[in-house]
């Protein structure tokens, strides 16, 4: 048997293509990913076969399995305006700084009176707060805070949409018609439907009729 001659040179591996590949993937994921916003509650929405995308701008109503309601608005400018309306309606004072903080605070499930104290907290402490949900009352809907949130949000969204449209027209710029703030409901699959019905009833009272129910994706059955 002939002797196997070992190569003299050091066994080296060129890592450059691997680095190239790895960074390519990093770049891809960095550019395509959107980060999950911090959520005060975890909800597991049911799945459906629809393929409609979520609207670009939403007033998000999150309902967890205990029936707590959280609200959020993806448009910070409108969110600030709605908060100012709410401060007027429920006579809660907040500083300009707090209003700014609120716009970036994510979903909130508190009554108006406890929002300033919540905003004082550090961001990582906020997640520890057990939020009771925005109060709503099915007997006296028009006095409930959820009703006022819905009502003000509907008016302000409309106002904001028209203002932006006018602005775009004035400058002769193209305008994206799909940026209208729509109402989206994200509820846990285990939530009792009657609870959801009550929440929707509050919104219907505020003349919000059109809802986007957020669902997970499910494969379409083939015929």
């Amino acid at each position: 048997m002939p002797k196997v001659s070992m190569p003299r040179s050091t066994p080296s591996l060129d890592m450059t293509p691997m680095v190239d590949l790895a960074f390519l993937l990093v770049t891809f994921f960095m550019l395509t990913s959107s980060f999950r916003a911090p959520e005060p509650v975890f909800v597991d929405p049911p799945t459906s076969t629809t393929e409609d995308q979520i609207p670009k701008q939403v007033f998000l109503v999150t309902v967890d399995d205990k029936g707590r309601v959280f609200i959020d608005l993806t448009n910070p400018a409108v969110k600030e305006m709605v908060l100012k309306d709410m401060m007027r309606d429920f006579k809660v004072g907040m500083s300009a700084e707090e209003i700014k903080k609120f716009a970036g605070a994510g979903p909130i499930g508190l009554k108006m009176e406890s929002i300033p104290a919540y905003l004082e907290l550090e961001v990582n402490e906020r997640t520890k707060v057990e939020q009771p949900g925005v109060p709503y009352d099915t007997l006296n809907i028009k006095k409930s805070q959820l009703y006022h949130w819905a009502y003000n949000a509907r008016l302000r969204s409309h106002e904001d949409f028209n203002a932006r449209k006018d602005e775009a027209e004035k400058r002769g710029l193209p305008f994206d018609n799909t940026t209208y703030v729509q109402f989206a409901v994200k509820a846990d699959g285990k939530t009792k439907y009657n609870v959801l019905k009550h929440v929707i009833q509050v919104f219907r009272e505020a003349k919000v009729k059109n809802f986007q129910m957020i669902t997970g994706l499910e494969a379409k059955p083939n015929d």
Binding site: M15, V26, S34, P46, Y193, M213, I214, L217
Partner: protein, 212 residues
Amino acid sequence: MAEIQSNGGGGDGGKKRAKKQSTKVDMTPLVDLAFLLLTFFVLTSTFSQPKVLRMIFPEKLNEEDLKNMKQPEVKDGITILLTRDNRVFWYRGALNEKTTVLEETDFTKNGLRKILVENNLPLLTQLRDFEKEMNKIDEKDTAKRNAVDAKVKKAQFDSKLVVLLKNDEEATYRNVIDVMDEFMICQIAKYFAVDEGMAPLEKKLIAQKLKS
């Protein structure tokens, strides 16, 4: 390191030369870093945007209208009843103490979907024909396309089948979405989620079924 230094210690004396420095840069830490970042982004990114199911609710009625409104009743229809433990019942036609027979079904392909497809067959065959017609038409021929669209709308409007969805206190949101989804799949043209929930008789029938 990716390279193994096999240059043994001192040679056998001789001239002292400047050591030959390798020009290769060790890439290994860079790879480590890149993959670390990669893992981070893969794990934190939300891949697919959630989908939405559109639901339109009628405007709130005032007290007087509510008083004058009666429970919806359908002759050529199906009523689906949702109750606890993901159980689902259905019956055909108008509610009647003597003739209504409640049947249990489930959310599988052979359950609810079969019932809905069987009952919606007239509309489904019509829609399939329209689809074939549509496929024959040239993409740019909007006039003809609109004409077919109008036919589809008319067929949906004329569809006899009405499906009602009722729930009791125990039914979950998941079940409702599942049923709505079935409506979409089976292309039911007319369906309503009944606001008032179940009638007392329906509750009684379900209670009987659940016991047995």
